[in-house]
């Protein structure tokens, strides 16, 4: 079984982060929340693997591994 990758994995991390902020630029709080929600769903679908998704939910909730 593969595990959620929690080591640095994005080449050009600063570029990605800037793009993420730019996508939100000028949006109201509500529109930004909606965008984040859509982004989560798009990424989750790309990952697909249910076990990894559960690990990702736990990681995002800042839960330490048992």
């Amino acid at each position: 079984m593969s595990d959620l990758n929690l080591t640095p994995n994005i080449a050009g991390a600063d570029d990605f982060y800037a793009e993420l902020l730019a996508t939100h630029e000028g949006l109201s709080k509500a529109d930004s929340d909606a965008l984040n929600a859509r982004l989560v769903l798009v990424l989750a679908n790309h990952i697909g693997d249910r076990a990894i998704l559960s690990q990702a939910l736990a990681a995002a909730a800042l839960k330490s591994e048992e």
């Binding site: 929340d33 909606a34 929600a37 859509r38 798009v42």
Partner: protein, 537 residues
């Protein structure tokens, strides 16, 4: 013209039991002539077991209530002799459309699998459904079957005794006492019997109200299921439009929690809402209006001594997914053959523990599915609404999001995984859908179909395998049904029952669920499987 639900179909008639000196003892008394009570009674009568149905009313369901019936209940109803009239009268549909705000976000096709005698779904008013069942009762009576419906017989009291239930019944001509070896409580969601016996009914009540209206109209809408999230005509809420026979349309409008139910039900308030939805120029007539609060809950156990609960009395779900009547019919389908074996002295009363196990499993699956639909349709927090709306927005442009849209997961029968009546799966390459515990899927056999051949007796289905023509075990005769994939042009038999396996031997229960399967006949193991399937191993 009177509507069918306004005509007494089983008018009160005095029964000799009312004049008896001491309470008459009946074998089986069913309380409630709703779809589940009638289904149980027909099943008992077909097995030659004397049954009396008591109902406090004398008519079929007031208004349509349940409209959507799934394949498995239709197959069960066919075994009970009323499946075909339902399909003939019902409306078949496959296309659904989902709207969000002002736009259609996508449409789907149920794409029903080929090779089944019955359609995936039909829509039909509950009053027709009950009428066909009453017709079937009359037909059985003409054939001399021991079945009786007593209209306007209201059960006032039920007392549990060691070997029977004592019942007090009220009629237009006064009260009488009756005894039942076994009482089947099918007295609906508010089950007075549950209350009389002080039994629990636990679960979740959803804080929401829905206006349910059946309207008669000449409309151009196609035969499709239309579901709206947050439409302009019902802001912040949901709506559903679904077709029934006779130009009747079912409309569900979510109203929210904080409303005055009596006010909302008045035609002067209902009609403007419907006009906003259907358009000002559509002419319609209101047939029936009701307001519902949904609940998802079940009894802790469906049996209390000689009293068994089935249908809405035992469990309740929200209507998203059409699981109420559909699952109730699976309850009595599961129960009646077991009781028949107990009456025949073949099985012990402990076989009824498996009714509890299997149907609680079914109820929990239905409650889980319908709670999830309700949570999607009515988000309970700001963030759940944000996520829900994100799914809907994405579903318009990206296919991946469509399976996440949940406007009701339509009823499918449950597999009794882990049931004590199952033998371990020994057909290792066999398809998952026919593993022990599963309801047999139908298969075309030339001009005929598999399920009617299975009927309501234990069957040994052999596919490209040898076995004796019949086996006697513990008082049960299991008859062989020999089939071959070599003569099956569709190859559906292979696909649904063999998968990668070369051959298969299935032990099938009277309710058409798989009890055991193996690659070939093995007398010792099949005999053990039969004993296990009747609770004796």
């Amino acid at each position: 013209m009177n509507k069918i639900f306004e005509i007494p179909l089983y008018a009160y008639e005095r029964s000799a039991d009312q004049d008896a000196e001491t309470p008459v003892r009946r074998k089986v008394v069913v309380v409630g002539a709703g779809p589940i009570g009638l289904g149980a009674a027909i099943d008992f009568a077909q097995q030659g077991i004397e049954v009396v149905v008591l109902d406090d009313n004398d008519k079929v369901s007031f208004g349509s209530r349940a409209v959507c019936y799934a394949k498995r209940p239709l197959e069960i109803l066919d075994r009970l002799g009323c499946g075909k009239p339902m399909v003939d009268k019902g409306v078949e549909w496959n296309i659904g459309k989902v709207f969000f705000d002002e736009r259609q976000v996508y449409q789907f096709d149920l794409l029903p699998e080929d090779g089944h005698e019955f359609p995936a779904f039909i829509n039909l008013q509950q009053y027709y459904f009950e009428e066909y069942m009453v017709n079937r009762v009359r037909e059985l009576q003409e054939q001399g079957a021991p079945i009786e419906i007593r209209g306007r017989n209201k059960v006032l009291k039920v007392e549990e005794k060691t070997d029977h239930a004592a019942i007090l019944v009220d009629t237009p001509e006064g009260q009488y006492h009756l005894e039942a070896d076994w009482l089947i409580a099918c007295d609906g969601a508010t089950s007075p019997i549950r209350g009389m016996m002080g039994l629990d009914f636990v679960g979740r009540i959803f804080e929401d109200n829905f206006l349910i209206a059946d309207v008669i109209m000449e409309a151009e809408f196609p035969t499709e299921r239309w579901f709206w999230f947050d439409p302009p005509f019902n802001k912040g809420q949901s709506a559903l439009l679904h077709k029934q026979p006779d130009g009747v349309w079912r409309i569900d409008l979510q109203l929210g929690w904080d409303i005055d139910k009596e006010e909302e039900k008045k035609p002067e308030n209902v009609i403007p809402r419907l006009k906003a939805m259907l358009g000002d120029d559509v002419e319609f007539e209101l047939e029936w209006v009701s307001i519902y609060t949904f609940q998802c809950r079940r009894m802790e156990t469906f049996r209390k001594g000689r009293v068994l609960f089935a249908g809405d009395a035992a469990h309740q779900v929200s209507p998203f997914g059409a699981r109420g009547a559909n699952s109730g019919l699976q309850d009595t389908d599961n129960l009646v053959w077991k009781m028949k074996l107990i009456f025949d002295g073949i099985a012990d009363e402990s076989l009824l523990d498996s009714y509890d196990y299997e149907r609680i499993h079914g109820a929990d699956e239905n409650i889980l599915n319908s709670s999830r639909s309700t949570d999607f349709i009515t988000p309970k927090s700001d963030m759940s609404r944000v996520l829900r709306d994100a799914v809907l927005d994405l579903s318009e442009v990206h296919e991946f999001a469509r399976p996440l849209v949940n406007s009701g997961r339509l009823s499918v029968p449950c597999t009794y995984d882990g049931s004590p009546l199952n033998s371990a799966d020994a057909l290792l390459d066999g398809p998952a859908r026919t593993r022990p515990g599963s309801p047999c899927p139908d298969v075309p056999l030339g001009d005929e179909f598999l399920l009617p051949k299975l009927g309501d007796k234990f069957t040994l289905l052999t596919i490209d395998a040898e076995a004796p023509d019949s086996i006697e075990e513990s008082g049960i005769t299991v008859t062989r049904l020999a089939l071959s994939t070599k003569t099956d042009p569709t190859q559906m038999l292979k696909e649904r029952f063999l998968g990668e396996a070369e051959s298969g031997v299935y032990l099938i229960r009277p309710d058409q669920h798989v009890a055991a399967r193996r690659p070939s006949f093995d007398e010792t193991l099949i005999r053990a499987a039969i004993r296990r399937a009747i609770g004796k191993e």
